[in-house]
Symmetry: C2
Subunit: 550 residues, 2 copies
């Protein structure tokens, strides 16, 4: 039996175009002799559709599209994901479903049993879970078990604490399945690809049943899907694999265990870079922007953001804007010029001092007797934000913000200033990871100028300012942030891992106190298991951090 | 049997202070001869704690506090809400629980069965549901049924389509309960109080069992709890009721069906106004701000916001800032002065024209050959935003933003401009409702000057600009917005209700296209069943609106 994994990039709610793409991939699979072509979870709606799922017209449209697609299916059977109505009079009104279609007819509809409701996932908000695995059918002499994403993520050998009591995979395996098909929309984060493969390898080996998986690729707002669709044989070995971070159609011969292994990323940094480029391209283009504008400070964050934008959109579609003040070092300008030349983007220079002094002039009568403080520093950052937004409004460029995760975590950033933008490209990269990715980019030749890489980080909002005057060194800060944010450890747990108590208290309090800023931040591309945004929902008003450990 | 309803205002995660308050109310209830004192759902953590529930240290602290409280409980028994560990090795790690405590001992722990997972609620994200109602005990000769909030919200006489299969109330009633106790954290929205009472009245009558309810009061970020705790007799009649929007301790004699009926709001407008004042006060004070700053445009939105702030924080703690440009009408200044005088707030004047021209000077070299457009209009709004933020930074005032729901819906607002702020006070009020609330404020005397109420709405960003040049009249716009956002109707459904197709298409497309702005808006006080924010989660990138109805 030949299975085609159709690893496609869809747009949420773009039913007509998603349908066209699905038909195109189906025809290709047919030409290449596939018996079955399989598509990602929620094929026609895109994933995650969020509260669009609460609109009746959205569900009806997706069913209409399914039926139009059904008629186009011929010899090559197809497995697609869609939303079906729950016809019972209790429970959520819809199911997250799959359909097995052959020769113009739906042969089987199966509903997702396990609904992820954690981190970025809200499936219990919308869907009724199926209480029993219904994805079982015989096709061309094979017994096939059909599942949807999370249905596979409850294997006791992997999860010591299981989130769900029911195990649909066990249930289907006990029915004597010859082959599993798993359609997924499984988002990327660092470490996820290995973990995902481990689950499927473990299950295949445990039951001695091969598995074909297909995953979504593409960026939808902040969430990035990596593809990496693969097939596992009955010994738990991956024998075929699709590309990462791009569309693919992989046709796999399960009879003989033959399929290509496409080249995928070789390092964490390569993987992250591909993810961010894809995410930036998809957000920009899916929002119907062609070009982007970025404030270039002469620092490493804006340099990395600009490089990613140039790779994502074409360097001719990226504008860098330098906005020097009286506190900017001369290097800032020269280094930005070198960067712009290296990556081929155009460069503008809009000095801000005059505007800054004008603000002081109109504000000073009201600020009499008050010392200079953060007010004046923030003002500079906000003038720069306004200028970038003016470029955006005038030329239709998307503003890409350049803050990293360390800054955003401790609030070392100005709301409505450097936080301005439609998309935060590197907001899920701790500063130490920013350096690692830049070093990867520079592995063969100097693309990000070494002057930028080597200079001590500074916001340049007052004379001689350095990040390290106000923050611990990033080598200390970042692991604390990672333990606190990604691993959810308490300050005292972090201290017990050997970090200085005073610093841990200071940092974790800063993280909590700056929730209000992050609430107004642009969406940021998610590359860790816990990014700021949808997957991390904290109250702004809360006093736990003040009392913790007391 | 005498039951005390302790309707308290807590702060999320502020365990020590919440505990103090609970002890204080318990002692008071004891003095007043109560047999049982009951507290709102999740008494010690506050509601909703959101992802703080994923922190082990948070759960452990809440259990420590419960045990410290337990020791203080004497003759008067207490019912409190807390988070308990799920000791099974499958499922979510915690339960949303209640404890019945008497004479220093926990007599019963019961877990919530029905977990709301819709709108602003995410309970399935955190909690394992209890499969069986365990809230049953005998106390002083009475059989008492104990439930938590949503457990009561599955009555088939009320909900034709039930979200849950299990009915814990029916189960307990069948055990022969003499009295129900329901501890709640049930947020306010227009129409909610009647609906909530209807559920409890229906259930009490159906089973012939009286009910004591207690609800939270206070604002937690965007979510407002109205209190309105009440008692229903076995005929379904409310015979005692606590205040709305303030703390209360209501002691009710269930033996004789005697209890006070406190005075609550008499109109929708009064209710909304109380909700917004409480929400503004709580957000400001719980965030440790004392004072607020507001941009006064001379329009009705900023006038209403200023009046609410003055009532919430004391007029001496509110600063109004006028920021006239060359396009501001003379009336704007005079009207703002009159308003400030009427409501007793201080007033600053910071003209923006010079700063605006300075921006044009530095930008124009880059904008050659381009016409004036939205860029220049947004620039003015953003200068104003910067000035307000400078006042905030310099004096420690919270910036209150003044946009209404109609504006925010269609994107008739400037990101980083008039959308700046820590809290959006009236962002869940459609413009027509803004007028209604202002008329309520002015019912006895002119507080908001009539000049402000009567002038045609204008952003004053170019000469002679009026809202109605770009938008349909608010009397047409607002019902369409309400049907689209609150009732989730499709554009074609709205058209079939008699609204012009062209306008409906235009408006609904504007709503969808401006999701990106709202994603970066400050939290806004929620007063309808569907506010922007946590309760409404839409992708930024989506193309459904372009295709709908095609």
């Amino acid at each position: 039996m030949k299975i085609a994994l159709a690893q496609i990039n869809t747009i949420i709610g773009d039913f007509e175009n998603n349908l066209k793409k699905v038909i195109k991939f189906t025809k290709k699979a047919e030409k290449r002799g596939a018996d079955i072509v399989i598509f990602p979870e929620l094929t026609f709606t895109g994933y995650p559709p969020r509260d669009l799922l609460e609109k009746k017209s959205f569900i009806e449209k997706n069913i209409e599209i399914l039926h139009r697609y059904k008629k186009t299916v011929g010899e090559t059977a197809a497995v697609v994901g869609f939303v079906s109505w729950n016809k019972n009079n209790t429970g959520k009104p819809i199911f997250n479903s799959g359909a097995f279609i052959h020769k113009g007819e739906i042969k089987l509809i199966f509903d997702k049993c396990l609904l992820p409701t954690y981190d970025v996932f809200d499936e219990a908000r919308y869907f009724e879970p199926s209480k029993k695995a219904k994805g079982f059918l015989e096709f061309k002499g094979k017994k096939i078990g059909l599942t949807i994403c999370e249905d596979f993520w409850n294997e006791p050998e992997i999860f010591q604490h299981r989130l769900y009591q029911y195990d649909p995979v066990e249930d289907l395996a006990n029915k004597g399945v010859d082959l599993f098909i798993s359609i997924m929309a499984s988002p990327y984060n660092v470490g996820k690809i290995d973990f995902r493969e481990k689950i499927y390898k473990t299950v295949a080996k445990k039951y001695g049943i091969p598995i074909a998986t297909v995953n979504l690729i593409g960026g939808n707002d902040d969430i990035l899907f990596d593809g990496n669709s693969f097939c596992v044989d009955s010994n738990g070995k991956i024998f075929s694999k699709a590309y990462d971070f791009k569309e693919d159609l992989l046709v796999v011969d399960f009879e003989n265990g033959i399929g290509k292994i496409k080249e995928t990323s070789k390092s964490e940094e390569e993987e992250i870079l591909k993810a961010l480029i894809m995410g930036t391209r998809d957000y920009t283009h899916k929002c119907s922007f062609k070009s982007a504008v970025i404030g270039l400070s002469g620092g490493i964050d804006s340099a990395l953001t600009a490089k990613i934008a140039a790779d994502a959109l074409g360097s001719e579609n990226v504008v860098g804007v330098m906005m020097p003040s009286m506190y900017s070092s001369e290097g800032s300008i020269k280094d930005s010029e070198k960067l712009a030349k290296n990556i081929g983007i155009s460069l503008k220079n809009v000095p801000i001092s005059e505007t800054y002094y004008k603000y002081l002039k109109i504000l000073n009568p009201h600020f009499e007797g008050k010392e200079k403080d953060k007010t004046e520093e923030n003002l500079q950052a906000r003038i720069r934000g306004n200028i970038l937004m003016a470029f955006s409004n005038k030329f239709g460029h998307l503003v890409l913000s350049t803050g990293n995760k360390s800054e955003l975590a401790v609030g070392y950033s100005t709301l409505y200033g450097d936080m301005c933008g439609g998309l935060a490209v590197i907001s899920d990269l701790l500063k130490t990871r920013v350096y690692k990715v830049v070093n990867f980019i520079n592995r063969n030749e100097e693309i990000i100028p070494h002057e930028i890489v080597e200079k001590p980080p500074s916001a340049e909002l007052r004379p001689g300012q350095k990040d390290q005057d106000e923050l611990p060194p990033y080598e200390v800060l970042d692991p604390i942030l990672s333990l606190y944010i990604e691993d959810l450890l308490s300050p005292s747990d972090i201290v017990s891992q050997g970090y200085p108590e005073k610093i841990v208290k200071k940092i974790t309090t800063m993280v909590d106190k700056n929730e209000y800023k992050r609430r107004q931040a642009p969406p940021g591309l998610r590359i860790t298991s816990k990014a700021f945004g949808y997957g991390r929902r904290l109250p702004i008003v809360q006093k736990f951090f003040l009392n913790e450990g007391k």
